[in-house]
Assembly symmetry: C2
DNA sequence: TATTGTTATACTCTATAACTATA
DNA sequence: TATAGTTATAGAGTATAACAATA
């Protein structure tokens, strides 16, 4: 199937295809844990930001409050995290439970192996370049864009 | 919200975040057309592979026959493509209609502008490097992997 | 007034399973 | 037997809208 110059020349398309390949492999690496890569990310964020609330978690994942709620419910039901009293009566403080810590470590091991295999064709220097360039993809504020 | 070294060091995570940023912007750029970036991709593939069947289109998009069916139905309903008799009686030959051609051109213009804005921080050389590195992300066949 | 959590509902995208017609 | 299209159904992930409690 021809892809043509129109698709090939779009960086967004290339990023999307690369992401799909990476994600499929990472998902397979996590199959034993019944958690998607995104849910592993949530666990790591909760671990590294102990006591954060659901809304902040959602912001970090680029999902809204309601979606974050659903995600947190799933992780709570699996016994990986816990809702504790937060900084005021509206707010939860999310905490990773011991079982969650163990699971995060195991999942990270599996995902790191996937990541290493998928990036094996790149040298250490190329990897650093790739990460640097990816980090610079983003909107550039235009003339009238500031408020 | 701290992201921590565990996430930062995963190339898959960086690709996913970059893809999300690119996709949000491209989707916004296509808002006038009521078609997602993926549907635009489908139109381009049909245009550049006139007469292809649904299964081949699905393969190119990494979706299965059934999902490709749904996608094709939507594009047909919008009057952008057409199912024509294929190479045998089982098969459709997909064809972009004149209205679809006009629409693809307009959408490409919008998406190219989005892509240009999102990559504006990178030089031409850096862009080429990025595309090259992205293209090399993928599984490396291991010892016992061949059949 | 603004924010957090919550619930109900709906939409998009994809998948599986089964069927029909054709090869 | 295998393949293409089709249909019904289901699941994951996300969103919007509304509400209660709290700030």
């Amino acid at each position: 199937m021809k892809q043509g110059v129109d698709l090939q020349s779009l960086v967004g398309y290339q990023v999307q295809r690369a992401n799909l390949r990476m994600e499929v492999d990472a998902r397979a690496a996590l199959a034993d844990y019944d958690l998607s890569p995104a849910k592993m990310t949530a666990l790591i964020l909760i671990r590294d930001n102990a006591g954060c609330d659901q809304t902040a978690l959602g912001r970090a994942l680029s999902i809204n409050r309601s979606s974050a709620m659903k995600l947190v419910n799933i992780l709570v039901d699996k016994g990986l995290i816990e809702r504790r009293p937060g900084r005021d009566l509206r707010t939860n403080a999310l905490a990773l439970l011991p079982r969650g810590e163990v699971q995060v470590e195991a999942m990270l091991k599996a995902v790191r192996a996937s990541d290493a295999r998928m990036t094996a064709r790149l040298s250490a220097e190329e990897l650093e370049t790739l990460q640097h360039l990816l980090g610079r993809l983003g909107p550039v504020e235009e003339e009238g864009d500031a408020e």
